[in-house]
């Protein structure tokens, strides 16, 4: 029953948000696209003219490109695997009757609220330091040689830190999904004598599949652009240079802006591929 009047009112109410987001999307994006076709180095002569696709080919051709893609995939894949597997298990556990459920929930969710620089530094120094870190004490207690985490197991270290931050997110969403599971269906299967594993496989997991997909997609988008965790731990050394970090180094550290912008365009394309799938699921839910 929208009248002409209310429709124009709606348009006015939408205008600020739409304008801002449109500007936010178009202005920097156009600038990045433009720069990616220029030979632009602020520290060495500035804009040295049109470069065609040279930045794009040079970015891919550089010796750090493919390793950065592999690193990105290992980190994103590792964190996804850990957070989803343990997230499902934790959600199942937290759904069961127990004493002090609220307190346990709070403890499990807490890491999500710790700022990335804090969690990375606390893990790096107080847990993974080869001499004074708690993990080193633990290793020595069992008579093992402490691991030099940040240089020898650098990727694993970052995966552990980032997984710790994101496990609460996965758990919380999966727990929300489990709690909407129809109890009667489970009870019926229990009475029919279905073994625990079968119940999990045929009833719980299919019910969770949508939530798992959503966790997977949302986390991928956030994980593709993790930055602070690498910035304060290895600074991109020891094979931890992700695509995001490589672009950051090109643009800010070596001021090769044209080259870095071409990298930025690649990152945007990559994120969009993931985003398309996420948007489809979210979109279906709107109807």
């Amino acid at each position: 029953m929208a009248t002409q009047h209310s429709r124009s009112a709606a348009r006015i109410m939408m205008a600020p948000a739409v304008t801002l987001l449109l500007g936010w999307m178009l202005v920097p994006l156009t600038a990045t696209l433009y720069l990616s076709f220029r030979d632009y180095r602020p520290m060495r002569g500035g804009d040295l003219g049109f470069a065609g696709f040279e930045n794009y080919t040079r970015f891919i051709g550089s010796s750090s490109f493919w390793p950065s893609i592999v690193t990105t995939l290992i980190i994103v894949g590792g964190v996804l695997a850990i957070t989803i597997v343990f997230g499902v298990l934790l959600a199942l556990l937290l759904d069961r009757p127990m004493w002090g459920q609220g307190v346990v929930r709070i403890m499990v969710i807490a890491p999500f609220f710790v700022m990335p620089t804090v969690s990375a530094l606390v893990w790096k120094n107080m847990f993974m330091d080869p001499t004074n870190g708690l993990l080193s004490h633990l290793w020595r207690f069992f008579g093992a040689e402490p691991v030099v985490w940040m240089s020898e197991q650098s990727l694993l270290s970052i995966i552990i830190i980032v997984s710790w931050q994101w496990l609460p997110f996965a758990t919380l969403i999966l727990l929300t999904a489990i709690q909407s599971l129809d109890g009667e269906q489970l009870e019926a299967s229990e009475m029919d004598g279905a073994p625990v594993l079968a119940r999990f496989w045929y009833i719980i997991l299919p019910h969770l599949s949508r939530a798992i997909t959503i966790v997977l997609l949302i986390q991928t988008i956030f994980l593709l652009s993790i930055f602070a965790e690498i910035f304060v731990t290895t600074g991109g050394a020891f094979g931890t240079k992700t695509l995001t970090y490589l672009i950051f180094q090109r643009i800010i550290e070596s001021q090769a802006v044209g080259l870095g912008s071409a990298g930025g365009v690649y990152a945007i394309i990559l994120a969009n591929i993931v985003a398309i799938f996420l948007m489809r699921i979210v979109g279906k839910n709107l109807d």
Binding site: M13, A17, L93, M115, G264, N272
Partner: protein, 276 residues
């Protein structure tokens, strides 16, 4: 019709869940404990858990040496500022999409969400150089604006899902009774929408507080919030565990407390209403 469980079963669940919960929470607990130790006891071998000489010295030192309150103040300005500004822009937009939806509402919502997927690093240089050229590098304004913009899609989406739960018939009835837009807002929006707005605000303050890409890249010292302050501990100050812990505890404490109140909103806000 709760499923019946034996006492033993419940005790077993409790034991496992508490063990895992404590394990996950342990790094935070350990940081808080270490912040009250002397530097010597912080690296004691074997580690001391509770029976050390509790001291507040580290907090005093961190505050004195690095002017912690400055960074705290910057964090507050940036997170609250960007959230309030975001709400001012988002409330009318979400309100109109929830109550006078058109054929394009869904497309607009999806498009807004898609701007959230833009990787920050892809637009790093334009924003960086734009801030520098306008003299906004290391300023509150630049960060408030940028963080408002990156969170705006989340704010609009959250508000939209809350507003949609307000029954439309109430609005229709109000309109039939001849309520003006102003009256609609004062008598209907305010009481029914406040809880949703408050939840949205809480979650977005948390997200803005912890944002660590733009805050590191767009600040030097003047406008640097706690995320950037802690990053300056990366070396070699990070080896002073007790001080690192005190600084960390101060940086995360306010948000941990807020976070505990916003568990439910977290699901709604970060899944765009796709998981309920």
């Amino acid at each position: 019709m709760a499923r019946s469980v034996t006492k033993q079963q419940k005790a077993l669940n409790t034991a496992i869940a508490w063990t895992i919960g404590l394990l996950i929470f342990f790094p935070i607990l350990w940081t808080i404990l270490t912040s009250f130790k002397s530097e010597g006891q912080a690296i004691a071998d074997p580690p001391i858990f509770l029976f050390f000489d509790w001291t507040l010295e580290n907090y005093a030192v961190v505050q004195e040496r690095s002017n912690y309150t400055n960074f705290l103040w910057n964090s507050i300005i940036i997170s609250v500022g960007s959230t309030v500004l975001g709400l001012i822009v988002a409330i009318p937009a979400a309100w109109s999409m929830a109550f006078t939806p058109s054929k394009r509402t869904k497309d607009i919502l999806m498009w807004m969400l898609s701007t959230k997927m833009l990787p920050a690093v892809g637009v790093l240089y334009p924003i960086y150089i734009g801030a520098t050229k306008m003299g906004l590098m290391d300023s509150h304004i630049a960060l408030v604006l940028v963080i408002m913009l990156i969170n705006l899609p989340i704010i609009i989406w959250m508000l939209y899902t809350y507003f949609r739960e307000i029954p439309g018939e109430i609005l229709e009835a109000a309109r039939m009774d001849g309520a003006s837009l102003k009256e609609e807002i004062i008598y209907i929006l305010t009481p029914m929408a406040i809880p949703g707005i408050a939840s949205t605000m809480l979650l977005n303050i948390i997200l803005a507080w912890n944002e660590a890409f733009w805050t590191i890249n767009l600040t030097v010292t003047k406008a640097a919030p706690l995320t950037a302050f802690i990053a300056s501990y990366s070396s070699p100050e990070g080896l002073f565990y007790a001080k690192l812990s005190a600084a960390s505890t101060m940086a995360i404490a306010p948000i941990l407390i807020m976070g505990w109140f916003s568990q439910k909103q977290l699901v709604r806000g970060l899944t765009f209403g796709a998981v309920k």
